[in-house]
């Protein structure tokens, strides 16, 4: 039986980070993944990540994945693909299946980093072709380059539902609506806002009750739900759609830990049934660790740190690093992790509905939570979102919830934007600093929540710089409509300039001219020539 010092199960961000950390310290490591490609969820994530520079914020997920793979390779980690771990037995023996054959391995220590599985829900017609998991839609469009459908109904408004909806628009699909049985949007407000402004409607306190069609989905019926999430008769509404995407949550995949005999418990804050772990990710069986989504649903950024922490602990217990080195690493990783686990969306706040104000004391936008966009009068409560009184372009930041994120602060060389030491703080704008209009903050913002605004650029016009990640990219001179935060047409608009550069990493900035007085409400551009790059409804 082949023996390794460390066997990692799962080559996602948690597993690869654990393997790299251990291999760098001298351990002999192998990673098994059942998939044909390494990287776990990361290669499907094409958006810029949140967090801070140390967490690779503002880098797109798939690039983080590429970096991780390169690091693992350089550290001498062996990654074996198409290899599913079937079970963990006594004495840390692992059965791994390759195609038909099963082989046994032995390890000194094991890291379980198997990630999560998508939750499903059933309703009339849910087995029809065209009903699929949001992850399936992502795999088809972002890995295989094939549209999952033409007209999509998204079920679920958590970050997964929101991010996948936006990616569907980018792939050229139409998102007809987002429904969620909860009364409030579950994911980040900035993710919801970037959908709303393109015209995607949100139906909160609604669910899908039926997918209709003979051989495939031809339409979907949605209905309002009561406080106990039961559909209310008479509220049904039929939506033309060929695809229904389900994004109703993820569950940790802790089966391997369970059948190994690790102590398990059901923890709602972690998303389900998970092994009980120490602060270093060690389960109740010494030498078996669990990291990433398998230990509790979080994010890739935290999964990577958790992977490193358990690898450092394993290296320490096998003498590859001394106690002092371990303490130092554990402290640094712990600090980095605690920064991500803060703010109103932190795991410990999961399910809370009593948060009504930001940490700074501003009232949260109810419209954002109930409809997916901030109303004009609510936005005015946020100082950073008020256009400055001076002449010229100014950053207007519509980031109104305490999320762990600060790339905007790093992006501005002029020091106009500051988030402060606590990365969940709302960004503020220093009106005394001169904004050069360079657009870097607009392109860097992971939530696409920053606009440049000049309320009066002369001749009765106002100018707005807005982030744009769709094709075709309008040409300067393109005429069309300016849409407001809810996606409603507001006024005529002209694109006067399109900014893009390598540093902006494929987020273009459209400079859009609108009649004066509209600059504080216009937030998206829809070309008039019919070649609508992206469309909500």
């Amino acid at each position: 039986m082949l023996r390794y010092e460390m066997i990692v199960i799962g080559a996602g961000p948690a597993g690869l980070s654990a393997a790299t950390e251990a291999a760098r310290s001298g351990m002999q490591v192998v990673v098994f993944d059942e998939n044909a490609r390494p990287g776990g969820q990361l290669f499907k994530q094409i958006h810029k990540f949140f967090g801070s520079r140390e967490h690779q914020a503002r880098t797109r997920g798939f690039r983080i994945g590429e970096n991780l793979l390169k690091e693992a390779e350089e550290a001498g980690v062996k990654v074996v693909l198409n290899a599913a771990a079937l079970g963990i037995y006594k004495n840390k023996e692992i059965a791994v299946s390759f195609g038909g054959a099963t082989r046994g391995y032995r390890a000194d220590c094991i890291v379980i980093a198997t990630g999560a599985s998508e939750n499903m829900m059933s309703f009339k017609g849910w087995t029809l072709p065209g009903v699929m998991g949001a992850g399936a839609a992502q795999t088809l469009m972002n890995i295989q380059g094939v549209r999952p459908g033409g007209r999509i109904l998204m079920v679920g408004s958590g970050n997964v539902g929101l991010v996948v909806s936006f990616q569907l628009l980018q792939a050229g699909c139409q998102v007809e609506a987002i429904v969620d049985a909860a009364p409030r949007v579950g994911g980040y407000g900035v993710h919801a806002s970037k959908l709303s402004r393109t015209g995607v409607p949100f139906y909160m306190s609604h669910t899908v009750v039926e997918a209709k069609g003979s051989d495939r989905v031809e339409s979907a019926v949605i209905a309002a739900v009561d406080e106990r999430f039961r559909p209310v008769a008479g509220t049904e509404r039929e939506i033309g759609a060929d695809t229904v995407c389900i994004a109703v949550g993820l569950s940790p995949m802790g089966q391997l830990a369970d059948n190994a005999g690790c102590e398990m418990s059901y923890l709602p804050a972690k998303g389900g049934y998970v092994p009980t772990v120490s602060e270093f990710g060690e389960t109740s069986i010494p030498g078996i660790y669990c990291a990433g989504d398998a230990a509790g649903i979080e994010e890739a950024s935290s999964a990577m740190i958790q992977g490193k922490i358990c690898a450092a602990a394993a290296c320490n217990s096998f003498g590859y690093i001394n106690d002092e080195e371990f303490r130092e690493r554990a402290e640094a990783y712990g600090l980095s992790l605690s920064k991500l686990r803060a703010g109103m969306f932190a795991p410990q706040n999961k399910g809370r509905t009593d948060i009504s104000h930001t940490a700074e004391g501003y009232p949260l936008s109810g419209s954002l939570l109930q409809r997916g966009y901030i109303s004009q009068d609510e936005i005015e409560a946020f100082p950073a979102a008020r256009p400055g009184s001076g002449k010229g372009l100014r950053p207007v930041i519509e980031c109104t919830q305490n999320i762990p994120c600060d790339p905007c602060q790093d992006a501005c060389a002029q020091g106009c934007i500051s988030v402060g030491g606590d990365i969940t703080g709302l960004p503020t704008v220093d009106g005394d600093r001169k904004c050069t209009g360079c657009c870097m903050c607009v392109a860097a913002c992971s939530g696409q929540a920053i606009f440049l605004v000049d309320e009066d650029c002369g001749n009765g016009s106002g100018l707005i710089g807005l982030p744009y990640e769709f094709l075709p990219l309008p040409e300067p001179g393109a005429l069309g409509l300016a849409l407001d935060r809810s996606g409603n047409a507001l006024c005529g608009a002209e694109v006067v300039e399109v900014r893009k550069s390598a540093a902006m990493d494929r987020t273009a900035v459209l400079m859009m001219k609108v009649p004066a007085g509209m600059a504080c409400a216009a937030r998206f551009f829809r070309p008039a020539d019919g070649r609508q790059a992206c469309r909500g409804r």
Binding site: E34, N35, A36, I46, R60, F62, S117, E118, T127, L128, P129, G130, V131, M132, G133, G135, A136, A137, T139, L140, M141, N142, I143, Q144, G145, V146, R147, P148, G150, Q170, A171, G172, D215, R216, E469, F470, L471, L473, R506
Partner: protein
């Protein structure tokens, strides 16, 4: 249904274009992409019909977990098309229960 131009993804890294058959009819796809993706790109949504109720099934998870997408590939039934790379000349058949669809 293929994405020819994408605002973020530069290149989907496809293999060469090849031919395969679906229930005997010629189809085109790219070598190495999943059989499921090649079918989706051609607008095929039904992969199989269940044995008892004869109800259609298609792609559901796309990562090999649900078995909704199984078809008869090169004569072998119950092959997960979302996990199977497309190869030149492959014979793909709609699955009826556990067997290929009868012709005619």
């Amino acid at each position: 249904m293929r994405i020819h131009e994408h605002p973020i993804i530069e290149d989907f890294k496809k293999g060469r274009e090849i031919g395969f058959t679906l229930d005997g009819s010629p189809m085109r796809g790219y070598e190495g992409e999943s059989v499921a993706a090649a079918l989706k790109a051609s607008g095929v949504t039904t992969h199989r019909y269940t044995s008892k109720l004869n109800s259609p099934r298609g792609i559901f998870c796309a990562i090999g977990r649900c078995t909704d997408c199984v078809m008869v590939i090169d004569g072998k039934p119950n092959v997960r098309t979302c996990m199977t790379p497309l190869a030149e000349g492959m014979s793909v058949q709609t699955q009826h229960g556990l067997t290929p669809r009868k012709e005619g």
